[in-house]
Amino acid sequence: MSDPVPLTTDHPGQVASATPPAPGRSRRLGDRGLAVAFISPAMLLLLAMSVFPLLWALYLSFTDYSATRGGPANFIGFGNYTAILTSAQVHTRALTTLIYVVGAVGLQTVLGFGIAYLISRRTHGRGVLTTLFLVPMMLSPVVVGLFWRFMLDAQFGVVNSMLGSLGLGQVEWLTRQRTALLSLIVVDTWQWTPFIMLIALAGLTAVPKYLYEAASIDRASEWFRFRTITLPLVWPLLLIAVLFRAIEAFRLFDLVYILTNGGPGVSTETLSFHIYKVAFLGFNTGTASAYGILMVLVVIVLTQLYLRYLNKLKEG
């Protein structure tokens, strides 16, 4: 039997109030009730604010309802779904989103891991360096989007100004089709490289030192050590970070909205942004709902994958 006395003296603040009530009150009964009482408020809120809206969206997705036109919602079966899945417009957006997700997350992973690797090799100033590198990640997408819009301005933007003083030509970053998507990728990379770096750094510092010592006794080359010790040990954690970023990038909206507003043309319209246009500018609520449900399905699959890896990592 564990002695409860040391526990109470560990926390002097509680000594005064530690007059136990009379024993024998039924607590078996309490446990179940307590669990329900503690969990259900949170669950109810989630049901009301997340599940109910989604179910509503699911219902609307089978109708031709329009939020502005009003009037009754006519049931049209899978009409919205087939329209979306066969729409060339949607395919274009899917491709844009794919390029964006792969480009941005790929760049972030390489850069973030690189920076983390460099920091992990330093013995001094690690904390300061890490803190400095993390600043972009904590900023609101509004601040990030606005500010890069200013910096990338074709006329008075500081980026073009610097290019000019280097003797290079001016680039219309946000107003040319190709460069706009590239700008979006660059800005997202700027903001989220710290995220990958942070997690990679945690993985790198967790690699036991003795493995490297053993390897250096064996005269293993730097590259060999990296390939056979560092990478395999950090990879599982890095994968979590990459998946997490991929989900976030897939549902990205605010940065597009602020930085390019989907333009020029439709060159930077991601799926999220397209849904917004269908729902709030086209007022096709039914179609937008079906579109949204399809996106939610993708997110659920990705989240499932993410949690699988997470569980594996925790158990392994």
């Binding site: 009150r25 408020p41 949170a42 920076i115 460099l118 600043v135 917004y276 609520t285 997470l310």
Partner: protein
């Protein structure tokens, strides 16, 4: 001993006979790495510095071509404009900052009150289908905001919560509760359940044991979790921009975003507003830096 190992494994004699050169190479490499890190840090921080610099520049210098890096006149006019309207009263921006404080604060308190007990229950009790429930909870957090905002918009229109602070508070709470539960579950798991068992042997009920012994130990974790929830709500843009419209309700992110558009944009004002908006976040993030990994992965990864 080490020597014999070296000799046995060394691939070529050339390496062994040139230790000074190798050491120099090592130092050269170290210098290179530091230089590389410095360049990367400058690139990462430049936009932030440029934002701060723009916020204290006179308008003429803000639009100077080529850009002025050092020789500009310092002014605090933009910061004054953030808080004071041209007619001397409160500016719309400062009202939006206050709204942000109210909305982010209230939703954080609500999410903490709802989330912490739930996290404790998930950690301590054998709840049915616990894994599925936790998965469900986290997946609500991953929903694309744009998708959720359409039905929420219709729902709020029915009950009159459009352009209402309470509406924003509710939706932010719903988005912060999953995070709070996941993050706090990690903290509760770290407190041995034996503490409560021991207290219950002493005659306390389970609830009393939780309140008197576990809860005090959770306070630092609760504080860190609340700070992250606060940052998430503070930075949120999508719901804020679609669910509110009037100046008296709007939070800071859509208000700042509203500064652009129109024919000209006062970038000095945008920069100053952004600095004022971002400063508390950076301070708070610095306070919880120890828990940053758990925080930014929604409590999923912790080291």
């Amino acid at each position: 001993m080490a020597v014999s190992v070296d000799e046995a494994v060394s691939t070529g004699p050339a390496r062994d006979h040139t230790p000074p050169a190798r050491r120099l190479g090592g130092r050269g490499r170290s210098v290179l790495e530091v230089a590389l890190l410095t360049v990367l840090a400058v690139v990462m921080l430049f936009p932030v510095l440029w934002m701060i610099e723009t916020s204290i520049k006179e308008n003429r210098d803000v639009y100077a071509i080529p850009a002025k890096f050092f020789d500009f006149k310092v002014t605090l006019d933009h910061y004054k404009d953030v808080f004071v309207a041209p007619d001397g009263g409160r500016s719309a921006l400062s009202v939006s900052f206050l709204n942000s404080v109210v909305v982010a604060g209230a939703s954080t308190v609500l999410a903490t009150v709802l989330g912490v007990p739930a996290a404790w229950a998930y950690s301590r009790f054998a709840v049915k289908a616990k894994k599925d429930q936790l998965f469900f909870i986290l997946s609500t957090r991953f929903m694309p905001p744009v998708v959720v905002v359409v039905p929420i918009f219709l729902m709020y229109r029915q009950v009159g919560l459009i352009d209402n602070k309470l509406g924003l508070i509710l939706i932010y709470t719903a988005f912060n509760v999953p995070f709070t539960i996941w993050m706090m579950k990690g903290f509760v798991d770290e407190v041995p359940a034996e503490y409560e068992d021991a207290a219950m042997l002493d005659g306390y009920t389970r609830l009393q044991a939780f309140r008197r012994f576990t809860l005090p130990l959770l306070v630092p974790g609760i504080a860190a979790t609340a700070v992250f929830a606060l940052i998430f709500s503070w930075n949120e843009f999508v719901f804020a921009t679609f669910l509110t419209s009037s100046d008296s309700v709007r939070t800071a992110p859509p208000a700042i975003a509203g500064l652009i558009g129109g024919t000209t944009t006062d970038w000095g004002l945008v920069a100053a507003a952004s600095v004022v908006f971002a400063l508390p976040v950076l301070v708070f993030a610095y306070l919880v830096r120890k828990h940053l990994i758990a925080g930014v992965t929604l409590g999923a990864v912790r080291r």
